[in-house]
């Protein structure tokens, strides 16, 4: 019996190797004659480079090469921009800084030596004469007329300014019953995968080709940009994201300077070169998300119906924009969330600062958007003396209104049209999980005893499964087993299990008879990458569709061989047989051999191409809109400002689930990331652009002590836009977390009438709120 069934808790096939120390991460790889690299990084947020003296470093025993920008030749150009946009004045970085550095951590020189110790010794021997310049450290300050400029030719450091919206908000604000205005600051923080970035490259002189291993989320993207930087064809640069990549969370879905420098050096030296990032470098030179400021305004009726929403936002994008303006764009289009808005307008300013570039981190601008909208809903509920759940129910888009056109254009250029979902039921389910009404009674009782309990709600809608495509090759091997090849590499999401489930389900075989190869540009020509909660939708459907095609092909060939009518055939247990006459059968392996030409003289059925395989690149017509509601209960210690999470509930809809165990793992992990964002994690920069929290001693990741086990309920509203009916689930656990947490803290402190205007909170910030309230 096949235990492959789609939708069941198949245990992970990845685990055994990882549990026994047999995993294969990039830094575990060794190549003969391999050298090790280290990167000299700028200690200044903004400075001119007057000179670089590498003589002493080059002279050190064990050092093989020291590269500066002057050594890069044609590779000295700027890294190509991923997402050009006419609304963006784009600047991307060089592999090594030329005459100016624009953030602390920017690569300045690249040392290659016999081992990492020697390479790091050599860094200290490089003399760089810097002339420090004034720093634009904060996005709001950077907009001012007298602010230091990141690029002299870009006035006010404004990388982009755009306005999105619909309806006539101005007119509505003028006559609304109630208008609320509030300023918010949302700091999103870093990805901080437990494995840093690692790159290994090897040059084959005879083949004039490079093989590169990178701990990346997007091997095809890395291959494309690396080949462009190296002046080679894409086919000459094979990129492999090894079997195991130690977490992604967004920041590994980009091409970094080191992914150009390592293969450049390997080619120049004719020896394999490896570079392994350390944690300090990860803080200083791996992309982050950071600060967003919002001035939000909401107009409502007396009954709590939203009439219009207006927001002016400032987004800190750092010194370069490798991903263009996807983050602020996603953020802007996510603000309306699950609510019906007659009018909506957001004015976004994207600002260069002298800090690490900003690219998506789990949630990609959405936690900020949800924070703003949900905070405003809470403020409106307080003003109108409604329960926060009630005001949301009064504004939800109803399930019978699906598909629902929002009137906005999403980052993929398509209209924002919610395809499916049941927001009212989802919130009720989450409230039930937490025991909302009982908690309200407990809260009232606790207040009498001088204890401060609170409950907060965060509801979100997330566009998942974005295009352009992801692909899969499904092939029956001559053993009769199935090979699935996809560009979509995993970083812990369990692709080797879920993808096998899909193929096994379609082909009626056991999951253990499916081999899954991921993330190798040499194995499948095209791929996009594992980010934006997109793989279940894109790769998942590619596998299903390719498997269906393989199935048809197997039946066609079997009909020919068995001299039977195709309609009378059945595929099960790895064989095709004639219904009612199981003795007349042929195994998938035999069919694969036949299709491969192993029977010379045999004629393939008309229209059947050789090989029992099919390739499919599923290209979704638009985003698949997942949704969910988080409800958090907390207790606040008003003396210390500490906040303890009492309970955490998540009701969500990711369409049909492939493997509920893996879905729950994504949600629980996302919740942990969200909790970090609520209370613990903050990238604090000083006025000189120096990161003050550049270690795990200062930047606190939540531990097992801070993260409760969430109660989870699944909704499974089938997505009508793809054959499997799936939506993404990689980010939903994180997206509404900060909003719900802020609401819960504010609710707990209701007797003091405080307003939570920023996250992350910290005990210190909670105390500050209380002090300002006279407590």
């Amino acid at each position: 019996m096949s235990r492959a069934l789609f939708g069941t808790r198949v245990e992970r096939r990845e685990d055994l190797a990882l549990l026994t120390g047999q995993g294969c991460f990039t830094d575990d790889l060794k190549r003969p004659g391999m050298l090790h690299a280290a990167v000299l990084r700028s200690p200044h947020a903004h400075a001119k480079i007057r000179s670089i003296d590498v003589a002493a470093a080059r002279a050190l025993a064990g050092v093989v090469a020291v590269l500066t920008h002057a050594d890069l030749g044609a590779a000295g150009k700027a890294i190509p921009l991923l997402q050009p946009n006419p609304l963006l004045v784009a600047r991307t970085q060089l592999l090594l800084a030329h005459d100016e550095v624009r953030y602390v951590g920017e690569p300045v020189a690249f040392v290659v030596g016999d081992d990492r110790y020697v390479a790091e010794d050599a860094l200290e021997l490089i003399e760089v004469a810097y002339e420090p310049l004034a720093v634009a450290a904060d996005a709001q300050e950077a907009l001012k007329d007298d602010a230091p400029l990141v690029y002299p030719e870009i006035a006010n450091n404004l990388a982009s300014r755009f306005t999105l919206g619909f309806g006539d908000a101005t007119e509505i604000f003028a006559r609304a019953d109630l208008v609320l205005r509030q300023r918010f600051k949302m700091h999103r923080g870093a990805g901080q995968a437990m494995e840093g970035r690692v790159v290994l490259a090897e040059y084959d002189r005879r083949a004039n080709g490079i093989t590169m291993w990178s701990a990346t989320q997007a091997p095809h993207l890395v291959g494309r940009l690396a080949s462009e930087m190296l002046g080679m064809e894409q086919r000459q640069v094979r990129v492999i994201a090894p079997h195991d990549v130690g977490g992604g969370f967004g920041p590994k879905a980009i091409f970094y300077p080191e992914e150009g420098l390592v293969p450049f050096a390997a080619r120049a030296l004719g020896r394999p070169v490896k570079w392994t990032e350390d944690r300090r470098e990860h803080f200083l030179a791996t992309n982050q998300e950071r600060d967003m400021y919002h001035d939000a305004e909401m107009a409502l009726t007396r009954e709590g119906k939203i009439l219009a929403f207006r927001d002016t936002a400032v987004f800190d994008t750092g010194a370069y924009v490798p991903w263009g303006i996807v983050d602020p764009w996603i953020s802007a289009t996510t603000i309306p969330g699950p609510y019906k808005l007659p009018a909506f307008q957001v004015n976004m300013q994207v600002v260069y600062t002298h800090k690490v570039p900003v690219t998506p981190v789990r949630g990609a601008g959405r936690p900020q958007a949800v924070f703003v909208m949900e905070r405003m809903m809470d403020l409106a509920a307080r003003e109108l003396q409604l329960d926060p759940a009630e005001i949301r129910q009064r504004n939800f888009i109803q399930p019978e209104e699906m598909p629902y056109a929002m009137g906005l254009v999403y980052r993929d250029g398509a209209q924002v049209i919610y395809d499916s979902g049941d927001y009212p039921a989802c919130l009720r389910k989450s409230q039930d999980l937490i025991g909302y009404d009982a908690f309200r009674r407990e809260q009232a009782k606790a207040r009498v005893e001088g204890r401060y309990l609170g409950v907060g709600i965060g509801v979100y809608v997330e566009g998942t499964g974005l295009g352009p495509y992801e692909g899969a090759i499904v092939q029956i091997e001559s053993s009769g087993k199935v090979l699935v090849t996809t560009g979509a590499s995993p970083q812990g999401q369990g692709h080797v299990t879920t993808m096998a489930q899909i193929a096994a389900h379609e082909l009626g075989i056991d999951v253990d008879d499916v081999t899954v190869i991921t993330g190798d540009t040499g194995a499948i020509p095209f791929g996009v990458g594992t980010f934006a909660s997109r793989i279940a939708v894109t790769a998942g459907n590619s596998i299903a569709l390719a498997a269906r095609e393989v199935r048809e092909k197997a039946l066609d060939i079997a009909a020919n061989l068995l001299e039977a009518n195709k309609d009378d055939l059945e595929l099960a247990q790895g064989s095709v047989f004639v219904r009612g006459a199981p003795a007349r059968s042929i195994s998938l392996g035999a069919l694969a051999l036949t299709a491969a030409g192993a029977r010379p003289g045999y004629t393939l059925p008309p229209g059947v191409q050789p090989g029992l395989l099919a390739t499919n690149y599923f290209s979704p017509s638009q985003a698949a809109y997942a949704s969910g509601a988080h409800v958090i209960t907390v207790e606040v210690d008003v003396r210390t400002g500490d906040v303890r999470i009492l309970d955490y509930a998540v009701a969500h809809d990711c369409g049909r689930m492939i493997n509920p165990m893996i879905v729950e793992g994504q949600i629980q992990g996302g919740v942990a990331h969200g909790i970090g964002n609520c209370f613990y994690e903050e990238l604090i920069y000083d006025d000189n652009g120096q990161l003050l929290t550049a270690s795990f001693m200062d930047y606190l990741l939540p531990t097992a002590k801070e993260v409760p086990t969430a109660k989870i309920a699944h909704m499974e509203v089938v997505c009508p836009l793809n054959p499997l009916g799936v939506k993404g689930v990689g980010e939903g656990g994180t997206i509404p977390s900060a909003a719900a947490f802020a609401g819960a803290v504010e609710d707990a402190l209701k007797p003091f009438n405080v307003t939570v205007k920023e996250v992350p909170l910290s005990p210190e910030k909670v105390r500050k709120l209380l002090r300002e309230a006279g407590r």
Binding site: L19, G21, Q192, M194, Q493, G665, H673
Partner: protein, 164 residues
Amino acid sequence: MAEKRTIQLTVNGRPYSGQVEPRRTLADFLRQDLDLTGTHLGCEHGVCGSCTILLDGAAVRSCLVLAVQAHGRRVETVEGLAGANGELHPIQTAFHKHHALQCGFCTPGFLMSIVDLLKTRPDIEDENEIRTALAGNLCRCTGYSGIVAAVLEVAAQLRRERTT
């Protein structure tokens, strides 16, 4: 570069010797010189716990121990956790069952910390105490729930075994 020293130690019951610079960390020695790459380096400053191993039976962070300090001592790593015939340690089995790992990078460190915990505090059963004990290891993927569930299960199993 300082002169290399000769060290001798046992790793997972097997004797090894090597020539190392005094500054070489035990983690690098295990990973690069002995090819025991199951021990992972997550932060290299002693916070994340990914590189946790047992040194003379006690959990230590191998990024903060120099290889020369392990001279004459007994090292146990994740590679030695399963039995000689490949039968998994109960905590490995429980991790698989409870989906206690995703990317698996932090997993070896958690496993070694937990082995130490169950040895030094065999009576541990309170979830909060277990969570406190696990707080020295960081995981970015799982949100810890599966890890906590796995420890609760194995701790209960060990208690049952002791009483029967």
